[in-house]
Subunit: 85 residues, 2 copies
Amino acid sequence: MIDQIEIIGLAAAVLTTASFVPQVYKAWTQKATKDISLTMYLSFFMGVILWLIYGIQIGSLSIILANSVTALLVLIVILLKLKYK
Amino acid sequence: MIDQIEIIGLAAAVLTTASFVPQVYKAWTQKATKDISLTMYLSFFMGVILWLIYGIQIGSLSIILANSVTALLVLIVILLKLKYK
């Protein structure tokens, strides 16, 4: 059963995870990533992997789902950054 | 007492939160944010506020600390984006 607190977590997860979609789309279509910080995305990626481990350990569905998809989207931004730097 | 699981959460929190510092620095010093998606940062900001509420409700120190500082840094990126668009 998903309780009320977990619904807030899931909404948070959807917003922070989905937020990377417009960034991926922008970088992909404009082929420009000059103003994006690679250091930010590398640090963020490592952090997301740790959040995933944390989510598994505390059994938080929101944290697990959010960080799995976020890791993938952030990795795409990193690859686009390396391609269009 | 902070247990081992919470240490992983805190490391995750430090990485994902601190990651926005180089982005703020880059946007601030280069006065350029063209390649940054405003939609991403607005969605991310709303998500971070919900993560903060979630963290308070499940009593996760890592989530509370991370998202308080992240909200502030993300807000700075949004203001820089609006200034140097």
